[in-house]
């Protein structure tokens, strides 16, 4: 039986003005029809850091993540404000396509296009008006290097992306996202379909990528959160219960629900 915890008792950190932030949500609520799935989400994400969102299944962490780049449009109703570079991107008039180019996303299951490795990366670039061959080639190389995939595929760029292993496919998806030169990268349990060795490779890639991008990653693997993230937010049944630097969160959780989750009492 799951214990009842008070949603009044939360420990969510805030940052002072000196901390540069990549984005921030204010009073975000998410509804699936009449089902209130996420309550009052107030989180701020420091620039060039990895923030992990942890919590049990159904805690609302993926729902939260998908709302950040408006991928929940047409699926759920999202209210509240999402601040990105001083703009509330949760307004109806905002160009969502533009937003998604700045806030990239990698999904749980690797979903490369059924095209060649090169086409996977250049397709969206071309659709956004980059036509020059050398510029495209440069972006392909840079993004594949960024995703630590270049050495494995550089001789086979015209091979089908579907012939790659699961881990390679996931790194290709990361490469595809960073080729758009985003500024925030959202990852929704990117390693849950991967084996341990591929997971290590993806984690190393992310640690490298945080120098250039702000990364927000959903994971239900607590070891993964502690290995790679600097900040960590704990979600419970649609509420953000605790948000703290990762070290503090795992060594000294502030409230009972986090303590129980981290010690493995549920989830």
């Amino acid at each position: 039986m799951l214990k009842e915890y008070s949603y009044e008792e939360t420990a969510v950190q805030t940052f002072d003005d000196k901390m540069p932030l990549a984005m921030r949500t204010e009073n975000m609520q998410v509804f699936y029809g009449n089902n209130h799935a996420l309550f009052d989400a107030n989180l701020a994400f420091p620039k060039n850091q990895i923030t992990a969102l942890i919590g049990a299944s159904g805690s609302g962490k993926s729902t939260y993540l998908r709302s950040l780049n408006r991928m929940n449009d047409g699926i759920a109703t999202v209210t509240g404000r999402i601040w990105y570079h001083g703009v509330n991107v949760n307004e109806p008039g905002v160009n969502i396509y533009e937003i998604r180019r700045h806030i990239g996303m990698v999904f749980q299951r690797p979903n490369p296009f059924a095209k060649s490795i090169r086409e996977n990366i250049v397709y969206a670039l071309r659709a956004n008006g980059i036509k020059k061959k050398d510029e495209l080639a440069k972006r392909v190389e840079q993004s594949l290097k960024g995703a630590a995939l270049w050495d494995e595929v550089k001789d086979n760029l015209d091979k089908s992306a579907l012939s790659l292993s699961g881990g390679q496919q996931q790194r290709l998806c990361i490469a595809r996202s960073i080729a758009m030169a985003p500024d925030v990268l959202l990852l929704d349990e990117p390693c849950s379909a991967l084996d341990p060795i591929s997971t290590v490779k993806v984690e190393e890639t992310l640690l490298e990528l945080q120098k250039k991008y702000t990364i927000i990653i959903v994971t239900h693997n607590m070891q993964q959160a502690s290995r790679i993230s600097s900040q960590c937010a704990f979600f419970h049944l649609g509420h953000i219960m605790e948000y703290a630097p990762t070290g503090t969160m795992f060594s000294n959780p502030q409230i009972p629900v986090t303590q129980d989750y981290i010690s493995g009492s549920f989830g």
């Binding site: 998604r100 999904f107 397709y123 091979k159 998806c173």
Partner: protein, 295 residues
């Protein structure tokens, strides 16, 4: 009875059922081909028909069948592509969509002879187009649209949702995602469906008797101006197709060798339809390898 024995009996019964289905098909094919092929010759395939008795070659009819098929596909593929994309991607799940779906279902269950009569009354009589290739092509479009639309919708829906999310997450518009990412993946299935429906259209007779007509005026194959009355490409000339020809030779043919003529024409028709089926498979797998870059 123990489980193992039960399993064995079930397997044998299922095998027998499959064998009988395959057997019937092979028997039919062997019968039609052996009855017809001996009478097929180059002059039969290319020669002209005697308008009075129905004797002679099937050159014009063979051409008419292909021409009608091309025209039908030119009209029906774009329409059903649009309808299929709409139903698979844009239609909301409401009463209007289910109305559209039932309309398509009703259209697909209309007997082809009724479609033919409708075409006759509307195009041939009311619009005064007369028995013509174009009347036939429009009638066949009615007959073809529902299946083609359904096929395209299913091929598109079979593409994983995660592909759409990938496109949208890169800032591509829904339409661009549809056109550049979903459609290529669905293309092999769509093309297979188009070629298979081409086989059906090629063999259709009932819908054409009253629309494309039952006469195959001798055309001048040196004249490719579609505006000329004698040109084979003129869409306003009557055009008896191969399937209609078989029906006509059998019912009102006056030629002394009517039975042999229709058997030979049937063999040609069957071979053409088989080629469409084979072509559908080859083209489908070729396209799949092309678009997915898996060589």
């Amino acid at each position: 009875m123990n489980a193992k024995r039960m399993d064995l009996i079930a397997t044998i019964v299922i095998d027998l059922i499959v064998a009988s289905v395959v057997g019937i098909l092979f028997f039919l094919l062997a019968y039609i081909l052996s009855a017809g092929l001996p009478h097929v010759s180059w002059s039969f395939l290319t020669g002209a028909t005697d308008a009075f008795s129905g004797a002679g070659g099937i050159g014009v009819q063979l051409f008419n069948s292909f021409y009608l098929l091309v025209l039908t596909m030119l009209i029906s593929v774009p329409i059903s592509l649009g309808a299929g994309i709409y139903l698979a991607e844009y239609a909301k799940d409401n009463w209007r969509t289910s109305l559209i779906r039932s309309a398509i279902e009703v259209l697909s269950s209309l007997p082809s002879v009724v479609v033919g009569l409708f075409g006759f009354l509307l195009f041939v009589v009311k619009f005064k187009i007369g028995f013509s290739v174009i009347s036939g092509a429009i009638a066949l479009t009615f007959f073809n649209l529902p299946l083609l639309t359904r096929n395209i919708e299913e091929s598109l829906s079979a593409v994983s949702r995660s592909q759409r999310e990938a496109g949208l997450s890169l800032g591509l518009s829904k339409w661009k995602t549809e056109l550049g990412i979903i459609l290529p993946v669905a293309l092999p299935g769509i093309v297979t469906g188009i070629v298979l429906s081409a086989g059906r259209v090629f063999g259709e007779a009932a819908a054409l008797i009253y629309t494309a007509g039952q006469s195959a005026p001798v055309t001048n194959f040196a004249d490719w101006n579609p505006m000329d009355p004698a040109s084979p490409l003129n869409p306003f000339r009557p055009a008896e197709t191969l399937a209609v020809h078989i029906w006509k030779v059998n019912t009102e043919g006056l030629a002394s060798n009517a039975a042999a003529l229709s058997a030979a024409a049937s063999a040609v028709l069957i071979i053409a339809v088989l080629l469409f089926n084979l072509g559908a498979r080859l083209l489908g797998s070729y396209l799949y390898r092309r678009v997915t870059a898996s060589k």
